[in-house]
Symmetry: C2
Subunit: 158 residues, 2 copies
């Protein structure tokens, strides 16, 4: 493997360490690369910004999409200091990234007090078996938006 992937991971590690040392957020950093350039980066900003979705990977995706003026990152790679949690992995699929290089694992995150492994287990359960209660309600009425979407001439698929 060339030195380049390591240098991108080194940048993500530097971000994660700065984030812990400053007290701004959790011990996570991520960068997104297009070609050999960093297109976006992020650190965990949950507590600093009152945004539970502000994980390093989500922040990096948001920044790269703003910079590249797109909602899809096909052809880009992510370097993240820890295996993405289910929220972030979902965001990686929606953003169409090609590849994820990750440092530590969900088990390492769990050992440091984070719920990543627990949430993976929960997501793979049936709705009825989860700790968060999930209740169906008014399905027929909610389907109208899908019907209108299918025949809309204004829609931008994603």
């Amino acid at each position: 493997m060339s030195a380049i992937p390591n240098s991108f991971m080194e940048r993500a590690i530097q971000l994660s360490l700065e984030n812990v040392r400053s007290g701004r957020g959790g011990p996570f950093g991520a960068v997104i690369v297009q070609g050999n350039e960093i297109a976006g980066s992020g650190v965990n900003s949950v507590t600093g910004t009152n945004d539970p979705t502000a994980h390093a990977e989500v922040m990096a995706i948001r920044e790269a999409c703003q910079r590249l003026a797109t909602f899809q990152l096909s052809g880009c790679q992510m370097y993240t200091t820890c295996e993405p949690c289910p929220m972030c992995l979902g965001a990686i699929y929606w953003s169409r990234l090609d590849c994820v290089f990750y440092g530590s694992t969900r088990e390492d995150a769990a050992e440091a007090g984070f719920d990543d492994a627990f949430i993976y287990d929960e997501l793979c359960r049936s709705r009825a078996g989860r700790t968060v209660r999930m209740e169906p309600l008014m399905r027929e009425q909610t389907l109208e938006a899908f019907r209108e979407w299918k025949r809309s001439g204004l829609k931008i698929p994603y």
Copy 2:
């Protein structure tokens, strides 16, 4: 069941329909309720804002957290027009919501052209079996941020 849950879902449905009719985004709406008040709401804003993470549920969580000045929504409920995708369900766990009322299902979403069901399948696979390539890199070096986090006096756990 009282009329109140239905009125909150009706608001989410109204938001989803307005979003399709305006061409601003996908056919999804969500509201977050604390007590009997709407604390935040959101519509799918992926294409309109170039943010692949801007699903209705994520937008509603972000808005409720800003309004309530917190990064945790314990004691709140979500009403969403469609079963949350894995990214949004992950965000629901991280935000500590109590309960999710959902209208249509991941299968309904798939039938309308959205990848929710596919991403659930992918997340529950081993890393090696996924369509997005996942490569371990520099684990030992990334663990230093966890070690510093554990002994940090500045950290705010979440």
